[in-house]
């Protein structure tokens, strides 16, 4: 199947005590002289939290930056949809928080499958992120005295989440976007909207540019630079139905992978427990309801199977608050993977509610009784409104119905401590890399990581790369650019040439079903083996039957979509293979063969305490597996318990 190689991937983690590592690293990084910065050109792909913050910060430093985005404006990136909040170890609540505690919670939340040094650094810079965003004018919630307010999120016993009503991602992205727009106006950053990166240009082993398709006129464009930053988000749409925006895709990351960047832990996906349940075949996406709702909402199902009564008619003694029952310490605030699996367990056992029986209740009646409807409306009003728009039900009067859905992907391109991939000069930020969340991400940590990478890490480490490599001048006239562009164009032409009978949506939905059933919330060897065959067949089906109309040299959304699905069909196979190869359960990766008697995930630290980094070897050869051993010197590997 695949060849495994025990490689010591050079993660460039600094030596010395954990709390001093980032300072030590920064002290040792080479600097680019102020006057020389303008001689360097950095290409940023993507304009979400990671991309916008990186592009703006590099522009401020004096580098020339080109930022390409598939959106019509950088402000549309999917970071905008994050609702609940952003974590930071400020300890403003005096409840005992510290950098150390945020670090430990994140490592434990990730089920001990992330790098200690990266996670510590994330916790260390978390406070700076809040400061930066406040200074930009992000309207975080405030106490009456004018100080910053906090709320609690899953997997933590302290209150460290900063928020802007239910629109925290929107406000943070608009903050980064405003900083980006300021640099555009200063002439340091050029934003190219409606461009899709279709390939990476590698010259003499270094990432030196990208090939993009101009989505308005279909023309191929090339951009050369001294470094390329991929900030292109996650691959949740491999499942077709997810909480990701429709445009989210794996193409940029996958194309870079095919050019030599290792893909790490693709099987780690996060299923979010509080989403609006699936209804009907025409459904195009799933909608998340912020985890913050679990602060005041209580999750339950009827104690009796098939109880037909309206939820409001079911008395207290006939309800099973299963999270509170199973996890008395954390109760409704257990981490996402635990809450999701518990919901699936109840539904699979026949206790589910609603027309499909694939839902559980999220009930606010006690919170409304204790705090009043107005208080709940102030905290979550927009979420209740959204719920009503979609379901036609009033969450204040009757419990909401929720079910887990694919939300975030912890896997991504492998990066070292500098956020550099296995291709020198190619850096990967935010959800697109694998680095900080291990096998499960805690709520309110994605925004933190995207901004940490873009504002506070990449400005230092990119400078070091530029200062320490003697990069030859390379322009778009270099033959590698033309060669790579021809590859990208011929792929588009082959899609158009099929002219078959099946639509992209139709095939994508089929891929989604395979992935959700075989490689979703719980997995087993038999199902994964079957998935490998089914994905391969579906990929062949795609290249035989895909039907895309119109021209490659025009605005053609169906063609864009087909190209993304073609990459998902390649990627999906690696994802299933990684899930098959990881013979343990960890965080969001739950293998049915490896569980405790109580049905909790059972890790195998002896054999799987590593990052699985996959190397592409060509279409006809299996990937090579490289393992980066995870060394825990500061926290003890224990079985996660939220009881």
């Amino acid at each position: 199947m695949s060849t495994a190689v025990e490689t010591r991937l050079n993660s460039r983690v600094p030596t010395g005590p954990l709390p001093d590592q980032w300072t030590k690293c920064k002290n040792e990084l080479k600097l680019v002289a102020p006057n020389n910065k303008r001689k360097f050109h950095v290409i940023v792909v993507g304009s979400g939290l990671a991309g916008a913050s990186a592009a703006a910060s590099l522009g401020e430093l004096g580098y020339n930056v080109t930022c390409v985005t598939i959106h019509d404006s950088p402000r549309r990136a999917h970071s905008i949809a994050a609702q609940g909040g952003i974590n930071a170890a400020k300890n403003y609540q005096n409840d005992g928080d510290s950098t150390w505690r945020l670090f430990v919670d994140t490592i434990k939340g990730g089920d001990y499958r992330s790098r200690e040094s990266n996670v510590y650094r994330l916790a260390e810079v978390s406070g700076n992120i809040i400061d930066q965003c406040v200074a930009q004018g992000v309207p975080f919630a405030r106490e009456y005295g004018g100080t910053l307010a906090n709320r609690t999120f899953g997997g933590a016993l302290v209150s460290r989440t900063f928020y802007c009503r239910g629109q925290t991602g929107q406000q943070l992205l608009l903050g980064a976007y405003s900083a980006l727009m300021r640099q555009v106006s200063a002439g340091k950053v050029k934003v190219l909207p409606r461009r899709e990166m279709l390939d990476l240009v590698v010259v003499d082993g270094c990432a030196r540019g990208v090939v993009c398709r101009n989505l308005v006129n279909g023309q191929m464009e090339t951009y050369a630079g001294h470094a390329v930053l991929l900030c292109t988000g996650g691959y949740g749409n491999v499942f077709y139905l997810s909480t990701n925006a429709k445009g989210c895709n794996v193409t940029a990351a996958w194309r870079a992978h095919r050019r030599g960047a290792y893909f790490a832990n693709p099987c780690y996906t996060q299923i979010h427990p509080t989403c609006i349940p699936v209804h009907g075949d025409y459904q195009s996406k799933l909608t998340l309801m912020s985890e913050s709702l679990r602060n005041d909402g209580r999750v339950w199902v009827p104690k009796e199977k098939g109880d037909q009564r309206k939820p409001t008619d079911i008395p207290e003694e006939d309800r099973d608050y299963y999270l509170e029952r199973r996890y008395p310490t954390y109760g409704n605030m257990v981490p996402r993977d635990v809450a999701s699996r518990a919901a699936k367990e109840r539904c699979d056992a026949g206790y589910g509610v609603g027309s499909t029986k694939m839902a559980v209740y999220l009930d606010f009646s006690r919170a409304i009784e204790e705090q009043g409807e107005d208080a709940i409306r102030r905290k979550y009003g927009n979420l209740f409104d959204m719920y009503e728009k979609i379901t036609d039900d009033n969450g204040y009067k009757t419990p909401m119905m929720i079910y887990p859905a694919v939300h975030y992907t912890m896997g991504g391109l492998w990066v070292d401590y500098h956020l550099q991939s296995t291709i020198p000069g190619l850096f990967v930020l935010g959800e697109a890399n694998f680095s900080d969340h291990g096998a499960n991400r805690l709520g309110a940590s994605a925004l933190m990581q995207g901004l940490a990478d873009g504002y506070f890490i990449i400005p230092y480490t990119v400078g070091h790369h530029l200062a320490s490599q003697s990069l030859k001048p390379v322009t778009e006239a270099h033959p590698k650019f033309k060669e790579t562009m021809i590859d990208a164009r011929s792929r588009i032409e082959s899609i158009l040439a099929v002219s078959g009978t099946r639509t992209v949506t139709d095939l994508h939905r089929e891929l989604g079903k395979i992935m959700w059933n075989r490689c979703g919330m719980s997995r087993n060897a038999e199902g994964l083996e079957a998935a490998l065959t089914e994905i391969k067949e579906l990929r062949e089906e795609f290249w035989r039957t895909i039907n895309v109309l119109g021209s490659g040299e025009a605005f053609n959304q169906n063609l864009e979509y087909a190209g993304r699905l073609a990459d998902f069909l390649e990627f999906a196979e690696l994802m299933a293979r990684d899930a098959l190869e990881r013979k343990e359960s960890a965080g969001g990766h739950f293998r049915e063969e490896y569980q405790t008697e109580e049905g909790e995930a059972k890790r195998d630290d002896e054999n799987f305490c590593h990052v699985a980094a996959w190397e592409y070897q060509g279409d006809d050869s299996p990937h090579t597996l490289h393992k980066e051993h995870l060394d825990f010197q500061n926290v003890e590997l224990t079985t996660r318990s939220y009881k």
Binding site: I80, Q136, C164, A245, L288, M386, K389, L549, A554
Partner: protein, 255 residues
């Protein structure tokens, strides 16, 4: 959930191959539409049907499909984002339509928003308005501790009300003058209510208005159509604040 019948609809959709070509309305019949579908899911179904019939799908912008990214937006029977108050096109559901309805679907109409294709328009002018001053000039790393800047809770709430703008452009589409005053006001008002926005307050109002006018958006004549169409329910009181900011800046700004 109450049971609904399926809908049979006639869709009259604006088709235009590109910015340089003439556009026209074309009628399509769509049968058995579930009332639980969102408006965009209904368009997805139309596009699947068109592909089967060998006609190119209708181009429309969309992304998050949860009402926050501001990418989607079409004029539905003359109303930007359709008939529901405070609702983006993606959050509008077919249960709000009747069996047998004729639904007319057009792009945003404004000279500052040229059509890209079918229902897709170019809204880059909004980015240029923000570039003119919709930011606080603070470099990464320069920020003091978050709690060093105290913001009274009501001011934060007021700023947040304005900052909730999703930048979709419905205000422009709704306005008979194609004015982007509500969009511009939302950003000016957001920053004018916070201490962080204070140092650049005057420049911001002057420059953003100047760019707004240069981009070809019309003047505001207080008809409040923008507020009625706004899916984020941004109030026209922010335009009043913008007017105050602009007047004060005109009288007192150093050139």
């Amino acid at each position: 959930m109450p049971a609904h019948k399926q809908l049979n609809l006639t869709l009259r959709v604006w088709r235009q191959p590109d910015a340089g070509s003439r556009g026209e309305f074309r009628d399509y019949k769509l049968y058995s539409v579930s009332p639980e579908m969102s408006f965009l899911e209904m368009l997805d179904v139309l596009n699947e049907q068109l592909l089967e019939e060998g006609e190119e799908p209708v181009a429309f912008d969309h992304d998050c499909r949860e009402g926050i990214c501001g990418t989607c937006g079409v004029v539905i029977n003359g109303q930007p984002h359709g008939p529901m108050q405070g609702t983006t096109t993606c959050q509008l559901h077919m249960r709000n339509f009747e069996d047998g309805d004729l639904i007319v679907i057009e792009p945003w109409r404004a000279s500052a928003f040229p059509v890209v294709r079918d229902l897709v328009v170019n809204r880059s002018a909004f980015d240029r308005i923000i570039q003119a001053g919709g930011y606080v000039s603070v470099r990464t790393g320069q920020a003091p501790d978050g709690n060093a800047i105290l913001v009274p809770s009501p001011d934060q709430a007021g700023a947040m009300d304005a900052a909730a703008c999703i930048g979709c452009g419905a205000c422009v589409a709704a306005c008979k003058n194609a004015s982007a005053m509500l969009f511009t006001a939302a950003k000016v008002s957001h920053l004018a209510q916070l201490p962080q926005g204070e140092p650049e307050r005057k420049q911001r109002a002057l420059q953003m208005i100047a760019t707004h006018d240069e981009e070809g958006f019309g003047a505001c004549t207080n008809t409040y159509e923008c507020e009625a169409a706004c899916p984020a329910e941004i109030s026209v009181s922010h335009i009043a604040r913008l007017n105050r900011e602009y007047s004060k800046a005109m009288l007192t700004a150093r050139q």
